[in-house]
């Protein structure tokens, strides 16, 4: 079955510390991979995406993610978090041959300690 797992419901990180949010997927075909961020009371904003090529992808707001096919993972990283990064983060997987299908993780809520 196709699925996306974000193992951490909540993560608490001190401001200035590094961050890694985990995303594992189960998908039969070649996947397209996305990370979105949702600030409180807002819609979702695309952080970055992977379609092909270099497996280390740079996104907005200083985020990056690495696609590891052997581990079926697409973890999101940031070297130094800011209080404004407090939000909920969603990983999603799409089919290479479809514009419509996206499978979403349940989200990870990031809490920043001052």
């Amino acid at each position: 079955a196709q699925s996306v797992t974000q193992p951490d419901i909540h993560i608490t990180v001190s401001e200035g510390a590094s961050l890694e949010l985990r995303c594992n997927y189960s998908y039969g075909a070649t996947p397209y991979l996305f990370w979105y961020v949702q600030s409180p009371g807002q819609g979702l904003q695309l952080l970055l995406k992977y379609f092909s090529g270099d497996t280390l992808v740079q996104g907005i707001k200083g985020f990056e993610a690495e696609f590891k096919r052997s581990q079926s993972s697409f973890n999101l990283r940031k070297p130094s978090v800011h209080w404004s990064d407090a939000a909920e983060y969603f990983c999603a997987v799409g089919a290479i041959d479809s514009n419509y299908q996206l499978i979403w993780g349940a989200g990870t809520k990031l809490i920043i300690k001052p």
Partner: protein, 110 residues
């Protein structure tokens, strides 16, 4: 700046009412989507549309219908609202795979 606009941020409706949630995009995107967001469940697709007057069921279409009479507008209709439809509703549009989301409508059915 490209935008997806949802007409209401908060709505409170009574059980049994017919509810319309409106969504407008200004990007000339072909595809539009309605999602429901509940804590711990991520986003679940209700319906999507790939062209005017075209619609496809998503994962949880029961109790909902949609209308797309113009390319820029995609409406979600709750035929007879029930308390289990209390949720955050997110509209999105896309040209290919990237979704652009609206700010969401938090619907409470009492």
């Amino acid at each position: 700046d490209v935008k997806v606009t949802q007409s209401s941020r908060y709505l409170v409706k009574r059980t049994g009412e017919k509810v319309f949630l409106e969504c407008v995009q200004d990007m000339d995107h072909e595809n539009m989507f309605w999602y429901r967001q509940d804590p711990g469940l991520g986003l679940r697709l209700i319906y999507f549309s790939y062209d005017v007057k075209m619609k496809e069921k998503g994962d949880i279409p029961e109790g909902y219908s949609v209308s797309r009479e113009k390319k820029e507008r995609f409406s979600l209709i709750l035929e007879s609202a029930s308390t289990n439809q209390t949720s955050m509703y997110l509209c999105a549009s896309s040209l290919t795979r990237d979704r652009v989301f609206g700010s969401g409508t938090r619907l409470t059915v009492v």
